[in-house]
Each structure stands twice: as structure tokens, then as C-alpha cells.
């Protein structure tokens, strides 16, 4: 259609999953703000962050949800991954337990999440290769058999962080303008309720 604008913008919800201290928030902060802190607070203190990725003819706007620490005592709410178009499941390459748990998160997402969800497996802390406990070949093989994709990343050195998000952006289906269920849904807008409510003074 000739009338379509040159760049179409698609917005997607992306969630991070994985054990505490594998670097979920650090990956997000590196991607969104280009920052890294050795002693990152366990949550980033925001409802969500946004960042865009420009592809050839489209722009993908990510709305990135952090767990806010609710994964720590197995208390993540279903709302967290509901409507998510993409998920990054993170483990720490220096800790095998976190890899085992990452596999369980993948299973859980494939069972409970949106059936078309794009899942990325990120082996984080790649800068700590000397303490490595999980070989990339093993993770790669697991990713292949699970139909997801894999990258080793380092939030600290910024290795593969942008690449990870760009790859997700490429894989997301661009057929619909939004990943959210369409129709006549209402998002509450402030204006709508700020109308003067004549009687409320009492």
C-alpha cells in the first residue's frame, strides 16, 4: 500500500526470566541505558523500560519488564509473562544450577506462555570465561532442540547485548500492529476520569 508510512513501528512486551543474580537487570540496563554497575540493586525500580531497535523497514519498540525480584521466592505472577511476545531466559555461565533452572523456565514458558512467544536463551557473564561451568556447545544444542535461540552475553563488557535484542526484534512477527489482543479493549486514560465530578466535594 503506497499510503503506508516509510517506517512502521511495532511494540512488543518482552520479559526476562532466570534465577536471581544471573544478570537480568544488568542486561536490560546495558541495553536501555548503556550502563553497567558491578553491584546492581536486585531490581531496577521501574515498572518497565522501553527501548527501540531499528530494522531495515520497521522499528521495534520493546517494553521490557523486569521481574522486580518476584522470582526470588517463586512468587512471579502470571500477569508478568501474560501477553509477552518475547522472553529472554538468562543463566550465568559460571553456575550450572542457573542453567538447569533456565531450562525449566523455558519449559514453563512453552507450556504457559503465549504460543507464539519468541524465546532467547542468554548465557550471561561471558566475561568470566575462566570460571565457566557451562559450555556454549551444550547450551546451543539445548536451544536447537527446544526451538529457541542462544547467545552468550556479557552485560559488563556489552558483548552481544544489542545483538541479542536485535535478533529478537528480527524474529518477532510483524504482521499485526501490536502483540496485544486487539478489539475494543480499554486502557484507562487519565483524561477520561479527570472530568469534574460535580458532587464529590461532600
Amino acid at each position: 500500500m503506497a499510503a503506508a508510512p516509510a517506517t512502521r513501528v511495532f511494540q512488543f512486551k518482552l520479559v526476562l526470566l532466570g534465577d536471581s543474580a544471573v544478570g537480568k537487570s544488568s542486561l536490560v540496563l546495558r541495553f536501555v541505558r548503556g550502563q553497567f554497575f558491578e553491584y546492581q540493586e536486585s531490581t531496577i525500580g521501574a515498572a518497565f523500560l522501553t527501548q527501540t531497535v531499528a530494522l531495515n523497514d520497521t522499528t521495534v519498540k520493546f517494553e521490557i519488564w523486569d521481574t522486580a525480584g518476584q522470582e526470588r521466592y517463586h512468587s512471579l505472577a502470571p500477569m508478568y509473562y501474560r501477553g509477552a511476545a518475547a522472553a529472554i531466559v538468562v543463566y550465568d555461565i559460571t553456575n550450572r544450577d542457573t542453567f538447569a533452572r533456565a531450562k525449566n523456565w523455558v519449559k514453563e514458558l512453552q507450556r504457559q506462555g503465549n504460543p507464539h512467544i519468541v524465546i532467547a536463551l542468554a548465557g550471561n557473564k561471558a566475561d568470566l570465561a575462566s570460571k565457566r561451568k557451562v559450555e556454549p556447545e551444550e547450551a546451543e544444542a539445548y536451544a536447537n532442540e527446544s526451538g529457541i535461540f542462544f547467545m552468550e552475553t556479557s552485560a559488563k563488557s556489552a558483548t552481544n547485548v544489542n545483538e541479542l535484542f536485535v535478533e529478537i526484534a528480527r524474529k518477532l512477527p510483524k504482521s499485526t500492529p501490536s502483540a496485544r489482543p486487539g478489539g475494543s479493549n480499554i486502557v484507562i486514560q487519565p483524561q477520561a476520569t479527570m472530568k469534574k465530578n460535580g458532587c464529590c466535594g461532600g
Binding site: 536471581s20 521466592y73 517463586h74 505472577a77 533452572r101 525449566n104 480499554i186 484507562i188
Partner: protein
């Protein structure tokens, strides 16, 4: 409903570290009221630990999937295959809708949680009259065509509505010589010469009172409630109600996330063994699985304070949850609706409510409907009390009966530091629930040093980013 623990038994050392700490506030139960208070306290900079004995969010205001519903209320039955996939169900344990211009909407804006939620308007609002289900007229044309009242009565009714619309507490010229802070609702209605049935219609289907106590109370409240109805109706058009996709259980989840984002620590599936008090009777901690977390105050729903005798029972609510393969008959095949059965129509003291929701609200698989019939219990046979409503439904595929005790706090918060929310009442919306939260919040603030007190003014919301 929380993500299943991926192959991991709870990490004892981690949990111990969190329990072995001192908090400003420990919140017990993740119901809508308690999570909202938790969020408000976290936002106010308080260190919050939030526990729930269940493995899912929401407590009494949770939305359960089919497996959880059968597990809890199925008397040992397993969900039959023809009901479809468990995860397509989000069955509310308390049936309520949100007034589109009501206090809960304002609270969502105030707490900046609107972003977590999407809503749909409820398609229709109906009222039962002389054995028939009528649409509550929403436009003048509908009102004139409605079979609910005769022509002359319609004119008197219209006069009443015009008075209510124009009434402004701050503008004496709109009062037309009436002092609504003194005049009773019954006397105001009498002024307009309305028939008993119209009075019931106004009081129950518009002002949404669930019994007749309002008649003897000042008319100002009645007028306010009628105005809320019409303001809410004007918002989206089909009914005054909106409802969150995936069920009411989304509300506590959104408020929990608000709390967590501001540092609140969450533990589901956490048994609460004992609330600890010091010699003076003041709360000082909560013990769970042998570990005690210290705190300065406890907020919680009544179920956590039963053993300590800090709550009293004031009644019971009966709720019958029906899974159906058809919408409620005589509601123009509405995907979602409410039917009010005013008490006087069926010889009761309390209204019966029917709410219907379906796949369009993301609470049931395609072709299935969740219909909840509820009322305040008046006799020793609560299920029988709902039979006039059940007759309107056709044949449900499955019925669950939920009998809930209604508790209110009976403690002295200033002495024991326990801030207890009340059980959800039988009303059809959340106005009284938000009032309860605001009241408990004010109690908490009243015990804090003046410089830490923060007031909530829902009439003047802060600007949104």
C-alpha cells in the same frame, strides 16, 4: 497461579536471610485490598515483606483456573474434559465489577498501575421485575420504550433524574430548597411522587444499594451514587461497568508488582504459623516455618487474625459459581452482563446479583460462560435462597457453592499495630472496598510521626507522565 517452581525446592538459606530481617511492615494475604496497601506502603518508602499461605496471588479476591477451582471447591471431583483447558479459565471468587468513573479507577491512576491492566466494558445491565428480566435503560429513548414503568411514572422518574443530574453540593441553587444532608432518601423520593417499584429501581439498579438501609439515611449519598452511575455510564456507553481482562485476580497482581517494583519482598506458599506480640500486646513479628521476621506493624486480611481473636464475624455471603455453555437467557445474548434482582421482588432483605462473563473477557474458553449468583445470607439454607436467580440461568454445566464468612476488624490498631482489612461485602462493585482500603491507610498514617504521613486525595490526582 504463580509460575510453577522450576524443579527447585525453596532455597532455605535465601528464605532464611529474608526472614531474618526487620521490616517496617509485614503484609499477610495477597487480596486486592492488602496488595493495594502493600503497594502504597512500599511507594511511601516503607520496607515491606508480603506473605501469602496460598501458592497463588489474590487470596479471597483471586481468579482461579479450572484445576484450582476443582481442587478447592470440587469435593474431590476432577474437572471433566468437556469443560476445556484449565488455563483458559480465570474464575473470580468474588463477583464484582468496576464503576467506570469509580474510586478504584482513580486508585489505579493514583498508584500508576493502569499500565498493567486492560479492560473491557460490560455489555449490559439488567434488572429483574415481576418475573422478567429488563434492560436497565441507558438512553432517554430506551427509557421511554422500556416496559419497566408506565408513561406518567416515566415523567416523574425523569424529573427525579434531572434533579439528580443537576444537583451540586457546592451550588445551593441546584438544591431546590432541599437539604440533602438531613433529608432522608425516602423523603426525597417521596417528593417526586414515585411508585414503590420505581423507588426500588432507583435505589437498587441505579444507586446499586444491595439492601434498603439507604432509605433512612441522608439523601446526599443516594444522589452521589446515582451520579456515579450516570458518570460511569457516560464513560463507555453500554453499561457503567468495566472489567479487567483475565479476571479480577489481575488487580492484586498489579498492586503486588507495584509493591515489588518499590522494593517489597514477596513470598507465596508461605505458611503463617504465628503473629508475635511483645509484653504490651504490640505486634513485633511474624513466624513462618520456624523463622521469625521482625516488624513494626502488620497489615492483613481477616483470615490471618482469626486465631488471635482480632476480628468478628458480621454475616455470610453465598456465591454460586456456574460454568455454562450458553449466555444468560433474556439478556440479548450479552457476552457479559449483570442482572440485579431487587430484594423486594423476591421477598428478601438483600438483593441477589447475577454476573456473567465469558471468553471475550478472557476468563473462559470460547463458548463457555462464568455466571456467579450471589447474595448476603439470610436463612439457614443459603443455597435455596438463590433459587429465584438460578431459575433464570437455564442449565449450567457445573455449579460450585462458596459460602464465605464476612469478618470485620475488632481490635485496637493504635495498641496492637495490626491493621486489618474487612472481608469483601456483597455489593456489586468496588466502591466500598476502596473506602475500606482508604480507611485502613488513614489508620496507619495516624500512627506514624507527622513528617511521615502522606495523604491520598483521589479527587485531585497527580499528573501522569
Amino acid at each position: 497461579m504463580a509460575l510453577a517452581r522450576p524443579g527447585r525446592t525453596p532455597d532455605r538459606s535465601e528464605s532464611r536471610a529474608a526472614m531474618d530481617d526487620e521490616y517496617d511492615v509485614i503484609v499477610l494475604g495477597t487480596g486486592m485490598k492488602d496488595t493495594l496497601l502493600s503497594g502504597l506502603m512500599s511507594v511511601a518508602g516503607k520496607k515491606v515483606l508480603h506473605m501469602d499461605r496460598n501458592s497463588y496471588y489474590g487470596g479471597e479476591s483471586a481468579s482461579l483456573n479450572l484445576n484450582q477451582m476443582f481442587e478447592k471447591y470440587g469435593n474431590g471431583e476432577k474437572p471433566p474434559a468437556e469443560l476445556g483447558s484449565s488455563r483458559d479459565y480465570n474464575i473470580d471468587l468474588i463477583p464484582k465489577f468496576m464503576m467506570a468513573s469509580g474510586k478504584l479507577v482513580r486508585m489505579l491512576l493514583y498508584s500508576k498501575t493502569t499500565h498493567y491492566l486492560e479492560f473491557k466494558q460490560i455489555d449490559g445491565s439488567f434488572v429483574y421485575n415481576k418475573g422478567k428480566v429488563h434492560k436497565v435503560p441507558v438512553t432517554e429513548t430506551e427509557a421511554l420504550a422500556s416496559g419497566l414503568m408506565g408513561l406518567w411514572e416515566k415523567r416523574r422518574f425523569r424529573n427525579f433524574l434531572i434533579y439528580v443530574q443537576e444537583y451540586d453540593a457546592a451550588n445551593a441553587s441546584t438544591h431546590k430548597g432541599r437539604d440533602l444532608s438531613r433529608l432522608s432518601s425516602a423523603d426525597l423520593i417521596k417528593d417526586f411522587g414515585l411508585q414503590q417499584e420505581t423507588v426500588d429501581f432507583i435505589g437498587h439498579a441505579i444507586a446499586l444499594n444491595h439492601n434498603d438501609e439507604y432509605l433512612t439515611k441522608p439523601a446526599a449519598e443516594l444522589v452521589k451514587r446515582c451520579q456515579l452511575y450516570s458518570l460511569s455510564l457516560a464513560q463507555y456507553g453500554k453499561s457503567p461497568y468495566i472489567y479487567p481482562l483475565y479476571g479480577l485476580g489481575e488487580l492484586p497482581q498489579a498492586f503486588s508488582r507495584l509493591s515489588a517494583v518499590h522494593g517489597g519482598v514477596y513470598m507465596l506458599n508461605k505458611k503463617v504459623d504465628k503473629i508475635e506480640y511483645d509484653e504490651s500486646g504490640r505486634v513485633c513479628g511474624v513466624t513462618s516455618e520456624g523463622e521469625t521476621a521482625k516488624c513494626k506493624m502488620v497489615i492483613g486480611d481477616p483470615s490471618y487474625f482469626l486465631a488471635d481473636g482480632k476480628v468478628k464475624q458480621v454475616g455470610q455471603v453465598i456465591r454460586m459459581v456456574c460454568i455454562m455453555s450458553h449466555p444468560v437467557p433474556n439478556t440479548n445474548n450479552s457476552d457479559s452482563c449483570q442482572i440485579i434482582i431487587p430484594q423486594s421482588q423476591v421477598g428478601r432483605q438483600n438483593d441477589i446479583y447475577i454476573t456473567c462473563l465469558g471468553a471475550s473477557n478472557s476468563v473462559a474458553p470460547a463458548g463457555k460462560y462464568i455466571v456467579i449468583v450471589s447474595s448476603t445470607v439470610e436463612t439457614a439454607e443459603p443455597v435455596k435462597e438463590l433459587s429465584p436467580a438460578l431459575k433464570l440461568l437455564g442449565k449450567p454445566d457445573k455449579i460450585f457453592a462458596l459460602l464465605n464468612n464476612v469478618y470485620v476488624p475488632a481490635n485496637d490498631f493504635a495498641k496492637d499495630g495490626c491493621f486489618i482489612t474487612s472481608s469483601f461485602d456483597a455489593s456489586s462493585h468496588f466502591e466500598s472496598s476502596v473506602n475500606d482500603v482508604l480507611a485502613v491507610y488513614e489508620q496507619i498514617m495516624s500512627t506514624l510521626p507527622p513528617e511521615e504521613r502522606k495523604l491520598i486525595d483521589l479527587d485531585h490526582l497527580p499528573a501522569q507522565e
